[in-house]
Subunit: 439 residues, 3 copies
């Protein structure tokens, strides 16, 4: 789709180089060992706060959030497996994926057979370290490349996981860009994954960059950026903001935004929310884009779209989580994401925001027959098609559908024309006194 | 579709060998010369009564049923055509199809030319005897293989049809399996065809066997099994039960259930009745299955779906009547139906009954966010997937759609998962206090 | 689609030779130089008035019609370009397309370079004269074959356009065939194009012929035939009849009805108006027929379907305007249209009128079960299928859907049977006392 969004909207034109910025930010987030609680989340929020002034929330261990309880805080200093020959076989310092996330502390010496019961591998991807968690069942474990484990000789292994589980807090950050109204657009990314670049350093970095770029812009909607641990973090936020979720008119969960896959959108549970239609319109112009119906598996749209909330929140990603071979392995590293893909995701997101911001419902003030465009120079103005982006067809469609029942997005859906061509036409017609805004 | 119906429901697991039982019953029904009235129907009901205790109804000749009048009772003892050489050319004793069903009695000697006007053949299937009736226009006639007639020499033929038409009764049988409620599932098969194995010895035998198998089962719905002559029999039943048809929530007309064709379902006139959706769900998993919209031609769904009743009654068959070459000919014999096809039809029917019985509308008692399945052992319980048939996805779908607006069948339609997987998940969630039944 | 419309409806059977009549009438209209105002329109209405007694309306220059003002009246006597050698290069007498329609008068001598700025050609169709207008921007100009202009030598050219622009009137004609009710079917064709045979001598001639053929027929609907200049003429009519547009139940704009293309229909803005459904039904039986959604570009459906009116008016044509190479060129001449195509368009139009006239909503008086057709001879009556056009299936469909919610057209849509087969069946059932007309 040719993008005719007039420059005045501010986001898209400034996006040159933004892909590199998001990539650099992802690079800084990548090494940190995050979990659903602990200092990794806090260090991540520190870095994101350089972009926008994040409000940080600490929810104490034991706090009830709906059916769940905030767990203890987990922090880890080091972990390793030392072989019979005294050599270090596996070291947390090499990759924080090596330790099962939220693993209990452990120190001991075990024969290989017994140790193996605590080691996770990927036999079909023998060179990669898997990513495993054990948040709600106390255990300890390691994740190791299958090839490496195969080479471990029989004998006694010394194991040490210098981790700590104790009462503390669950941490999340949020930033509210205040618009002209209290109606909200919620943008949410999970902050609980350790060194996985696409899932979700990409989403965190992109969201913080978007928040920063939005600061200079006057918007109709208020934009809430939420950086929270998966599931328990989203639930904690919902629990604390239950009485104001009615303000959320649009929402997106963001993850996996930097890989080479085509953009993909999973609809909200409602299926026909404005965000669903706007994303479908934008992705309709993107080669290979995927539109999927809601299903209750994925990221935090599971919580936002639970039946007690049923919020208009969809999910935007590139390669669909769980379907690409790098997913939840050490191959989801900084080589897997690219500045150009991050930039493309950023652009799509700003186009959707622009539609949310700029959609309105025109009312034709000359509804009986067509008004005479020629005497107003509107055919001439269109001849060159230089600045406005409007075409004769877009003018005619807007006039014809401006019965107070069609917003610009609805006009785009019915006419098959790009939103921005219709928006430009509506602006031109408004300026010439042919339209008013419907109430 | 993999069938995950837990054993407790009783029907499917006991179906081993049921195909042979239905076939054997069909064999016994096959030789009888049935018509819309007469002793053939009574003898058929005698045999079916060995399965379940049928209530028999006798509706006197002359009784007005809506726009129709119950005709005289027809019985036939013998019929034959004897050639110029004294040899018997056609004998009712060889096949009851040889006489036009409901034929007037006749005795006389005719030249071949005149006789031919009373003989029906199938020139394009010259070896087969056609099936013809003349219920409401008084005439006499024979049905003979075209090849046989071609070999008949000129000369005088002696014809005798020792039949009787006199005031008597129209007979039908019904059996009511009482469930916990008075709401009914109507299962109806026509009993008026003579020696046609698929159409409808198969339907009669299958229905009686199903009725018997249902006796041991406690059901929510009451199941009414109706064995009635086509059209006039269904109308007689409707006429006598007009004030209670409102109790019918689901219904199926059954015929042609033993041939090798794929299962086929014709929707009720409503098109979106529960039975239409349940049959679509079950047949969705059957290779080659056909779903057809209602049309006012076929069997007694024509009467049940007439505009004054418009009952939720569809039609289940295998090869679609009127489209297979054996239809209404002597080739629709006991070789044309097979135990395995009868068993398959029986299985499909029990699956649909199971859905009707087991569908319910869950209400999520923890609708805000997902409840924590792990602490209830529901992830573990699912790991093995041994007994419950539930999967993680089915648990998540049930929880997500349990807003009181989706029954299990609606969940199956939306999720694309099998009904029984969702039913098992809902049972598990109910047992763990996560669901209640919506009112 | 086989056309089973019983002869009593009068139109179709009399259509033999009608294609030649319409063609001959088109031939007479072709040479006239029409514009949005002026004597060309009046001379055209004179000829059309030979078919039916047209009411002629003169709307004075300066009259306000909605957002528009009736322009001055334009008349032209002659126009030519004379070359440096004194030879006439371009002459209005050869083709009235040579002068830009509504051109200002002009007289002068110009060098070739300057003249060229006033000459329009079609470089990609170098042998054809384009059709150009300049109704609302005062200018003068010629339209010439590109090849001809290429051969014009340098030098001074004498140009003369003997035209006149002065206060006068805009002229349109209308004819009302009064039916039993005031509810109207509007048929509208633009009368402003000069020598373009398909666009729209064909539409004008066909409409006048249809009006004449309708005179002898008693109809339920009143039929309004409107011959008006494009845009401003339709607006003038709407402006003068604003308070009675509510009477319009059906409408068609007609143009380009004589070429070899398949019939095409563009739906009204409503999309599901009766005329949209009736045209879809008729075109459903025509090979290659096109159905298109409304778009606000085309002919006067733009005005009738503007949001302040939103009338149920579609557009019927053959080759879609703007898509065939002859469109708006001198190749749209009398060779481009053929009697057989005009006749085919006429037939389609009469079939649609017949559906509009003959549609009704039957109510089954024997809604419980099927009534007994046999005892009324309705099976026998159907055997031959000679006069009625009804079949067993059409009788059964009508009875089944005659619940007061389905008109014959709705029955045709649901059953897939031709309207006329169902109409014949309904007539037969009505005659036998089985149906009544729903209120």
């Amino acid at each position: 789709m040719e993008h005719l969004n007039p420059g005045g909207l501010g986001l898209s034109p400034s996006s040159t180089g933004v892909g590199q910025e998001i990539y650099s930010l992802s690079e800084r987030l990548f090494p940190i060992c995050r979990s659903i609680t602990g200092d990794g989340v806090r260090r991540t929020l520190d870095i994101l706060s350089e972009q926008v002034d994040l409000e940080r929330h600490e929810v104490p261990t034991g706090t009830q959030v709906f059916d769940w309880t905030v767990p203890q805080e987990w922090n880890i200093r080091s972990a390793s497996i030392t072989g019979p020959d005294g050599q270090t076989v596996v070291d947390f310092a090499d990759s924080n994926l090596h330790v099962v996330n939220y693993s209990m502390p452990f120190k001991g010496t075990l024969p290989l057979d017994e140790l193996r019961r605590h080691i996770h591998t990927l036999p079909e991807q023998p060179g990669l370290i898997p990513y495993r968690t054990s948040y709600y069942a106390p255990t300890w474990g390691f994740c190791v490349a299958h090839d490496r484990v195969a080479k471990m000789p029989e004998g006694l292994y010394r194991v040490e996981i210098d981790a700590e589980l104790k009462d503390g807090c669950l941490t999340y950050g949020e930033y509210l860009h205040r618009g002209q109204t209290e109606r909200e657009f919620l943008l949410s990314a999970h902050i609980c994954h350790p060194s996985l670049a696409n899932d979700n350093c990409s989403g965190l970095a992109l969201l913080a960059t978007l928040a920063r770029s939005l600061k200079a812009r006057k918007t109709r909607y208020s934009y809430r950026f939420l950086f929270a641990p998966g599931t328990i973090g989203a639930l904690a936020w919902l629990s604390r903001n239950e009485d104001r979720t009615y303000l959320i008119d649009h929402g997106l969960v963001l993850s996996c935004l930097g890989d080479a896959g085509s953009p993909a959108y999973k609809r909200s549970r409602r299926g026909d929310a404005f965000i669903d239609r706007a994303m479908a319109h934008v992705l309709g112009g993107e080669a290979g884009a995927k539109l999927m119906d809601f299903s209750p598996y994925g990221y935090d749209e599971r919580q936002y779209c639970s039946p007690g909330f049923n919020l208009p929140v969809g999910m935007f990603q590139r390669s669909v989580h769980g379907t690409f071979p790098e997913y939840h392995t050490s191959a989801d590293n900084l080589d897997f994401i690219r500045p150009e893909h991050l930039e493309d995701s950023f652009r799509i997101l700003t186009e959707v925001i622009d539609i949310v911001e700029e959609d309105w419902t025109p009312l034709n003030l000359f509804p009986k027959g067509e008004p005479q465009l020629g005497k107003r120079g509107l055919y001439a103005a269109l001849g060159g098609q230089k600045s406005s982006g409007a075409t004769s067809m877009s003018l005619l469609w807007v006039l014809n559908l401006a019965d107070g029942q069609h917003s610009l997005l609805a006009m785009a859906e019915r006419s098959g024309l790009p939103f921005w061509e219709l928006a430009a036409a509506a602006k031109l017609l408004l300026d010439h006194g042919l339209l008013a805004a419907a109430l």
